[in-house]
Amino acid sequence: MTTIEKVQQLSMAGALNAALADALEADDRVLVFGEDVGPLGGVFRVTDGLSERFGERRVFDTPLAESGIVGTAIGMAMNGLRPVVEMQFDAFAYPAFEQITSHLAKMRNRTQGKVELPVVIRIPYGGGIGGVEHHCDSSEAYYTHTPGLRVVTPGTPADAYHLLRDAIDSPDPVIFLEPKRRYWAKGEVALDRAGAPMDRAVVRRTGKDVTLIAYGPMVTTALETAEAAIEEGWDVEVVDLRSLSPFDDETVAASVRKTGRAVVVHEASGFCGYGAEVAARLTERCFHHLHAPILRVTGLDIPYPAPKLEEHHLPSVDRILDTMARLQWDDEVCGA
């Protein structure tokens, strides 16, 4: 249990900052680097004050090259360090795709476990902030489809702290996706190491009629939807996945078997998006408990739109409710 002093009201950015600071403090193999993460403190201020506090030897700006950042992080990890690197925005991680896919993800496997790469790649992702093109991608499916990577994403400030500490401690490489539209939302954060393990989903709200599966930026939206659904007479259970890869079948399938209905929500485009996997695997595992097909509420199958149009692209409470309404509430139920 946490001592009272260790519990603080923090924004998600603040919680991430605290996690980095505590990790840097705890282990001098931890280095933090990337574009503008030094004196500026990152464009989202997640690394604010760290280079001043820990010195530019441990927290530093790199030349502007994402493949270079990830590639050198791989080398440093090979040689015993624990790099935590930042990609400035989601789409700017793409130049590092080869290093991530062919090396970071595979090194342990190639070397039969001889070389492990405890690298964390922090990527602010998603939209909803009025960002211009290339600043709002949700790229999780590219990483979750790549065996060897862990992919996690916090939905709350508390999880931001815990998951980032866990990610830094992980012997596996972790793609750490930060929902940038939630950077400024505050919550209570216990600055300790208690809490759910990194690879477990958490039920954020219990309910009996339908399971709403969300992660990252959509956790808040899902909880809002659950409140709004009361009026429709639906008791919604909200599951926050936290770990996108590996997937916590146990927790999520248990919820879906209980409710018999599920909707999965994410910002990324639907086609071959992460929700497809969630729907497919839960259907495999819970088929005879389902009253209706598992439905998805996702971004449209379009490139992320310009600021003035993004509201039409992103899953909203209304769109999720509309989708829930299609879960065949009145049908003759069978197979349950």
């Binding site: 403190g41 502007l64 149009l309």
Partner: protein, 365 residues
């Protein structure tokens, strides 16, 4: 053996930036660069005044919430204007997010220029109309597009040249390297103009590159390079013009590094005080590209008060038209989301369009 006798000499830049006008607007003797004609200098002046006014107007629009964000090129007008004026109509311009002033100098409608930053769509103008590629945000990626466009021009027997703008930070990306290499091997008519404005957001050159200059990269690709004073509009015009003419004549690509300075923060959302001294900014304000051209033109008797006022008035009119255009509300059409993903809407997009249509109808009802 002297440097100039070496076969590689022409590929290396000078040790220090060369120019035509010093910081006080005095003619530099014996420059390797050719002084542009008076008409060109006056044209540069007029466009720089308009460009700067446009830039301050855009910054003001961010304060009023009319623009989501604006990366200012204040202090870089010699590059923004000099380079573009050196192009001919058939040439291509590949700008970055910072080069809005280059766009309006090329003649792109200012309101269309700002569409990206206003948030109505990713691009407001037709790239083919004035041969201006979309302003590019993923750094350095457009260097390759410029090489491809230039290569295609030669393939088709056209004599157009592609000028690509990039920043000091962007030179660190792998794509810059690949573009210079393809251009060198294929001898494409491409001009690479690096605006070295001292910073990549907060990161200074000392953390970006250890070469004597960025222009020193040229020799690694067999590309002749020039290191020039990027706050000297005459020098920028002259260097780019020379490179464009060389490229047009089949002489291949040139790499130009123009040393300049970003007077404002990276964008209006950035706080430059976190990483640089105001003293540094002040020093660079003393090397203002517009002041120096004015000093020279006045000294030469080419610019008098009447002309200055006329140009200023034109710039004010321009700014007013920008304000007017930007104050008009942007009509966004939700259905347009589905129109340009593929040449034709797919079945899935038709379904999604219908869903959105129904939602919007429901909201209205």
């Amino acid at each position: 053996m002297t440097l100039t006798s070496l076969p590689q000499r022409h590929l290396l830049p000078s040790e220090t930036p060369i120019g035509l006008l010093d910081a006080d607007g005095r003619l530099i003797d014996g420059s390797e660069l050719t002084m542009p004609g008076d008409d060109v200098l006056l044209d540069l002046h007029r466009r720089m005044v308009i460009g700067r006014r446009f830039d301050t107007q855009a910054t003001a629009l961010t304060k009023q919430g009319r623009l989501a964000v604006y990366p200012s090129s204040r202090g870089q007008e010699a590059c923004e204007v000099g380079a573009v004026v050196a192009l001919d109509a058939q040439d291509w311009l590949f700008p970055t997010y910072r080069d809005s002033v280059a766009l309006v100098t090329r003649g792109v409608d200012p309101v269309q220029t700002l569409t990206l930053l206003q948030g109505g769509w990713h691009l407001g103008y037709d790239p083919y109309e004035l041969r201006v590629a979309p302003q590019c945000t993923p750094l350095a990626t457009n260097t390759l597009h410029a090489v491809g466009v230039a290569h295609a021009a030669r393939y088709k027997g056209e004599d157009s040249v592609a000028l690509v703008l990039l920043g000091d930070g962007a030179t660190s990306e792998g794509d810059t390297h690949e573009a210079l290499n393809f251009a060198g091997v294929w001898q494409t008519p491409t001009v690479f103009l690096v605006q070295n404005n001292g910073y990549a957001i907060s990161v200074p050159m000392s953390k970006q590159n250890a070469a004597p200059s960025l222009a020193h990269k040229g020799i690694g690709y067999g590309i002749p390079s020039l290191l020039i004073d990027g706050n000297d509009p005459a020098a920028v015009y002259s260097a780019v013009r020379q490179a464009v003419e060389t490229a047009r004549a089949g002489g291949g690509p040139t790499l130009i590094e123009a040393v300049t300075y970003r007077i404002e923060a990276h964008t209006n959302a950035d706080d430059a005080s976190r990483y640089r001294d105001s003293g540094e900014v002040a020093a660079w304000l003393g090397r203002d590209p517009l002041d120096r051209l004015e000093a020279y033109l006045i000294g030469r008797g080419l610019l008098d008060d009447a002309r200055r006022e006329a140009v200023a008035a034109e710039a004010e009119d321009f700014a007013a038209s920008v304000r007017k255009g930007m104050n008009a509300d942007v009509a966004v059409r939700p259905q347009s989301l589905f129109d340009h993903v593929y040449a034709e809407r797919t079945a899935a997009l038709r379904e999604q369009a219908a869903m959105l249509e129904a939602e919007l109808a429901g909201e209205e009802a």
